[in-house]
Symmetry: C2
Subunit: 812 residues, 2 copies
């Protein structure tokens, strides 16, 4: 078990004492004491919140051991001197670590070090020493991955503060849960966006759901965590399923073109916009409320810490106006209209009819955006507008260019497990106006027209980058970003693929804002309830700084680049950069089945593979993508029989690495290839070959409903990537795809003659990978990717001129 | 989509009106109206809880359509007559069904019928008609599987009732959520059990966690839902893992014996018991409280409906005294001590030291037990004592005899996915006193002694039934049951196997209590948040009757036997009995690879199989139980290559059934077998062979966190078994195992000579299975069961005299 905390602020002794007093650990009963043991006992008393009598307090105290043989209560009465061993022996128990399985009673300090828990190494002898150690303990994570103070908070520590709360309370630079979650006020307002996407001659009104502390009614101004979620008013699952595209279609030859970037570059069109509504009055109280929002648990955590939380689904969603056009500028404008209102720069109304204005009078006009996937995408989108009021965007598993979500290298390339999905399908899924039949009746026809245009513009026939996609590429506007950016992404996220965060990170490198990057070993997930990382604390430090202006060194304490190691659990490394321009490169030549160092001369040779399967095997793989993936990567016959993909791919392997190696960023391939038709594609997987117990990519639930961080409030599951029980022989590191007619870029279509050899360069999805000594790297070259590309099962034969192929690995 | 509601009580018109008034749907504003449309509008107004202005109300009203082209608000103002089509068109929308995907606007009545929603067929013309229809609508399930009234409740309908609440409020025979969940009082008390299992000379004190309505402080007496969960104070996962037994051991010859049942029948020993503690005073208020219990969501639902909820983990758990001895009488005594206290018949103290008594003065002394698996087991155990105060036990996926959990037919037989677990492992896992190191220090040595005895008594060497197991067989005491019983079990539960509920059901048949049985198509799961069944309502009706004494016809409305169909989703059938003695039987003879009707003469023939695998295959199967299971049941070569189990089992199949057939209960086999060693075992699987889309056995989450049934309260996921996307060629129906030396019963060991033929009879686990016409039944005969039995990989050769084998199927 390894703890990794980055959000502990080191403060001076006076600040520690002041803060301990502010949260009532120091009070008159402590002031009157001098003996550290007596002080400790009073502090412990305050933590045993379940005890309402002295007897119970003593009973609970003696559940802990001060030494391997003496219970804590007995020790405190024994007048024996306090030692650091004793303090930390008890500390480990308070932090919920288990005797024997997590630590030995005889060696608490060894355990503190091994688990990577912070310790005071100077002798704890005086009252001052003890208070210093106690302060640090309150900041330290329990076995359940929350600070000890947050553990006490969910036990009820701050409940007695609720009635007195008028302002937020900070401890160690982080806001504490002194706001009663059951007194939250829930408002609905309708923001008037500078859009008329449904072309009804009126600006689109957008429903906004607000949860704000009751104290805002008494003048408290709250900062806002805003999550723009197209999903949160409902999803049209069945309509979306019905709209899915057939991917079992043939790849076709494309007409060559000579397009330059300027030909497809999107320039903003200024469409005429209806006038703003005439304001007919103003009202302070909302006309509408709501009961159940679709929450993000990270937001829930902050709802009791002085933050307001705002959810908005945007154009085309239930109760809002407008038409959903996935990724379009209108979607971004819709997203930031809410920020503009929160910052006092746009109008909202109490309802959709009366034109009575309602201001965000309770907002401190400092806003952060949160959320993952589409939600994080809209946070990125909003940031690229430079909108006033948006102080920071937490962009988790976010798309930075929609082309990189549904396309790759001039090919239709589905996000993992969503074969057949596309822009129009997603637009259908989130068009929740459908769920208000009375409203839908008015808009159905127009929406169907828009869908038709969308289906044409997204252009599944060519897979080319175009005006349409350039319009939906946020990277074009990264230079406008004024908000500080926190990016979180899974290195195993094959839904929103790593190129999305990779390109954003690269584009941001020279933009004058603070930017932080966290790359974890998961798929498409949230990481706010992980045991091994204090992500929630980091965000608390960050938001306390960005939105409350607390001088807590958040920007220095949070590492610029934090990457989880893939070879062992609970291990996080900090770096200065990712995909650093300063990286060195390992370059490999290709031999038959081998990758050899560039210095090794290679003989002229070719290798070929078929992309065709017998129909039975083809059907089987379509239904069993896991078996297809296994067969694709398995070099030796496994024990389940013949490998039916043996002739359908080439595998090239390096020799065993003699030392641990870190691949940092974009692997580049030079390939000389021919195909027996005037069209074709190649797919690549870079694979770590070597027996190892590897991490799960889906988190394991370590403790169900164990986390709330607030008394009597919503709970979350504690999660972590754990080691799989069984050894696996390989792991896919990264991959890439290219249409052989897009040898220059994704918009220019090149001529392809059957059986002629062509050179092309492919950049795989960026990665960060710790390759263990003794392992081999393998490059798998194939064509149809069952999980990603179209699947025509055509009679295609590919040949590689392997002595003209190269692979370049960026090495940290 | 199909709705199945059993808990709607039909009441007379006067009762409907009285109840509508009690929940404030009828009030003065309705009394003054006569026009049904005007009445409907007022009712609708009360449901649109988010509207705080008339404008918003109208806005929301027009989100619904009254006809395919007229919005509801417009319709209500149009003075057009109300029709049943219009009422149910709107009703379907109120119930959250989606236009087009769930119903056609033009055919609402057809949809109501198809979805199986109750309707008023008489014309809805008058105010009285409308109120009648509205009453029924409030009782009707939404698409999210909760009553419309519960949907309104979680939207906030009853929040305004909280301050006036002094007593529970019933609607349609079911308690409503008029108790504020955030005002609950949380007490801890220590019940003094008539036990001294840790032999410290003092009776064991047991920690009890209580959540009770605040109104109990003002004299309200609450009934109690009590969940006895050995897990809820924590689990020693690591210690449990370390205690797991190696199952890769050889099966051994057992010494024959001549035991009769009386030789192993357990007779209660009366051990001397320390005196009760001297009571030193009495106190009304608890000394101790708690913040986070481990909740059961069904209990959460009732916490706001006037029930108190009590959790206790029992002997040997954190903060309690005692030693955990899995399944022993002491565990049952520990379980019911809490009931005795709740009913006023046992003493509890405010803490473990002061001997100050605290009574359950807030309890109405009527108790129900709830919970699944070990929790349900303890509910069954408690019921078999006939303890006073226990009115009903909801026994979900419960063990009825621990032998049937860890053993089968004279063999060690693990519950599914828990190979190597046994009584001592489970005792270790739940001995959460370990988690209080100060407390554990005192008891560790004695607990280790107890574990040693337990390991010996459980006797993994023979797998025989014995004194030890007879002591842990609740079936011995079913005749003592006085509580009404509700049993819930999964027909695909291979953890707590169906024999457990099967034997309990049979034993209860003549016991004079009410008993209800629900068999679903899941594994080892809860069913209280399923869309297709109103289980929560059924329990509400049941508890309102059993614990509040409401005359709501619960015993008549709930079917005696309710079984989910395995061939199509959301389909539940009611029956009078399960495993009915009145069933007919289909008897089959065995031919080479075939099962033929008993009337078909068969030739003398034998068939044999090996139980040995090459070590590589053996190791592979141990790690890939799913592949083993697939290879075991696959008759034809599948597309992944050779079947490595071809020579390791026999498969006998019937011809295709020409009509749908229902197997009801225990399939019986007569087998004549020889083995080449003086020991051996047989395993059997009865299999449905035939291509079909089958139900998932793990529920699919249909809507995440959609259910709470109370405003601002804990949420649950809506779940359902759905059809798998792909057709599967077979499904295991039931199975069985036998040690060839236990041919008479599980305690008598018979002689077995190598290569001699012996006759034996095996009863498979009871089932209920709908076999579709066109399918075949298959019987798979094998020996080592990788998921269940020991795995010695011995050179065993089994022969069946197949003309002397028979299979008998009970048919409904």
């Amino acid at each position: 078990m390894k703890n990794n905390q980055f959000a502990i602020e080191t403060v001076d002794s006076a600040t520690e004492l002041k803060e301990l007093r502010a949260i009532h650990f120091i009070d008159a009963s402590i002031d009157n004491l001098d003996d550290p043991l007596a002080v400790w006992k009073v502090l412990l008393h305050k933590t045993i919140l379940e005890a309402k009598s002295e007897t119970v307090f003593k009973q609970k105290l003696n559940n802990y051991l001060a030494t391997p043989t003496v219970a804590l209560g007995d020790f405190l009465e024994s007048q024996q001197p306090l030692t650091n061993e004793i303090f930390y022996c008890v500390a480990l128990q308070l932090l919920q670590f288990d005797v024997d399985s997590d630590f030995k009673l005889t060696e608490p300090l060894t355990a503190m070090k091994k688990i990577q828990l912070p310790v005071i190494t100077d002798p704890i002898q005086s009252k001052a020493d003890l208070l210093h150690a106690w302060y640090l303990l309150l900041c330290t994570h329990t076995k359940n991955g929350q600070t000890y103070l947050d553990k006490l908070t969910q036990d009820g520590y701050f409940v007695s503060f609720y009635k007195q709360t008028t302002q937020p309370l900070f401890f160690n630079g982080k806001a504490q849960a002194v706001f009663d979650p059951h007194q939250l006020i829930r408002d609905v307002v309708y923001v008037e966006a500078p859009l008329d996407t449904d072309q009804d001659g009126k600006r689109d009104l957008l429903k906004v759901e607000i949860l704000r502390p009751q104290q805002t009614e008494q003048g408290y101004k709250a900062p806002v965590l805003y999550t723009a979620s197209p999903y949160n008013q409902g999803i049209n699952d069945e309509a979306g399923d019905a709209a899915m595209h057939n991917v079992d279609v043939k790849l076709q030859a494309k007409e060559p073109n000579q397009l330059n970037y300027k030909d497809i570059h999107y320039a903003e069109k200024s469409a005429p916009l209806p006038a703003k509504r005439q304001i007919a009055g103003e009202q302070k109280e909302a006309d509408e409320t709501f009961a159940m929002e679709a929450p993000y648990t990270l937001n829930d955590y902050f709802l009791t810490r002085g933050f307001a939380v705002v959810y908005a689904a945007g154009i085309g969603t239930k109760d809002s106006d407008g038409i959903r056009d996935t990724g379009a500028v209108s979607e971004t404008v819709s997203t930031i209209a809410v920020i503009e209102w929160l910052a006092g720069n746009r109008t909202a109304f109490t309802n959709k009819t009366d034109n009575v204005e309602i201001k965000a009078w309770w907002s401190n006009a400092k806003i952060a955006m949160t959320g993952r996937s589409y939600l994080g995408t809209l946070a990125t989108a909003a940031a690229t507008t430079g909108v006033e009021g948006l102080k920071t965007a937490i962009s988790e598993a976010a798309i930075s260019s929609w082309y990189d979500y549904y396309r790759d290298g001039g090919l239709v390339a589905a996000p993992n497990t969503f074969q057949g999905e596309d822009m129009d399908v997603l637009a259908t899924e989130v068009f929740s106006r459908m769920q208000n039949p009375g409203d839908y009746l008015k808009i159905k026809e127009y929406f169907d027209q828009v869908l038709t245009i969308m289906a044409k513009d997204q252009d599944r026939n060519t897979g080319n980058y175009s005006h349409y996609w350039d319009d939906r590429n946020y990277l074009n506007n990264v230079k406008n970003i004024k908000a500080d950016m926190v990016m979180v992404h899974g290195l195993n996220d094959w839904n929103v693929k790593p190129r999305n965060v990779g390109n954003l990170w690269n584009a941001l490198r020279d933009v004058p804002v603070a930017k932080k990057l966290i790359l974890h070993q998961g798929q498409h997930i949230y990481i706010n309830a992980f045991r091994s990382l204090d992500f929630t604390d980091m965000m608390n430090l960050w938001f306390s700084h960005e939105l409350f202006g607390i001088d807590n060194h958040a920007k220095e304490l949070l590492p610029d680049v934090l990457i989880q190691d893939n070879t062992q659990p609970e291990t996080w490394h900090t770096y200065e950069d990712w995909q650093s321009p300063k990286d060195s490169h390992q370059i490999f030549n290709f031999e038959a089945k081998e990758l050899v160092p560039e210095t090794v001369p290679v003989r002229t040779a070719a290798a070929s593979f078929s992309d065709h399967l017998d129909p039975e095997t083809f059907d089987f793989y379509k239904k069993h993508l896991d078996v297809w993936e296994r067969d694709l990567l398995t070099t030796n016959h496994d024990t389940t029989g013949e490998n039916r993909l043996r002739d359908n791919r080439l595998i090239f392997k390096t020799s065993q690495y003699d030392q641990d190696t870190y691949i940092d960023g974009r692997v580049q391939l030079q390939i000389r290839v021919a195909v027996n038709e005037p069209f074709g594609m190649l797919s690549f997987q870079l694979v770590d070959y070597g027996d190892a117990k590897r991490l799960t990519v889906s988190p394991t639930i370590l403790a169900s409903k164990a986390l709330s961080g607030t008394y009597d409030w919503r709970r979350d599951n504690l999660r972590e990537f754990t080691l799989q029980k069984e050894t696996t022989p390989w792991k896919m590191i990264t991959n890439g795809h290219i249409n052989l007619q897009n040898r220059h870029n994704n918009y220019q279509v090149d001529e392809l003659k059957a059986n002629d050899f062509y050179d092309l360069t492919v950049e795989l999805q960026p990665t960060f990978y710790h390759l263990l000594a003794g392992h081999q790297l393998g490059l798998v070259v194939y064509a149809t990717d069952f999980g990603t590309t179209v699947r025509g099962n055509q009679e295609l034969q590919y040949s590689l001129q392997i002595n003209k192929c190269k692979m370049s690995l960026p090495i940290k």
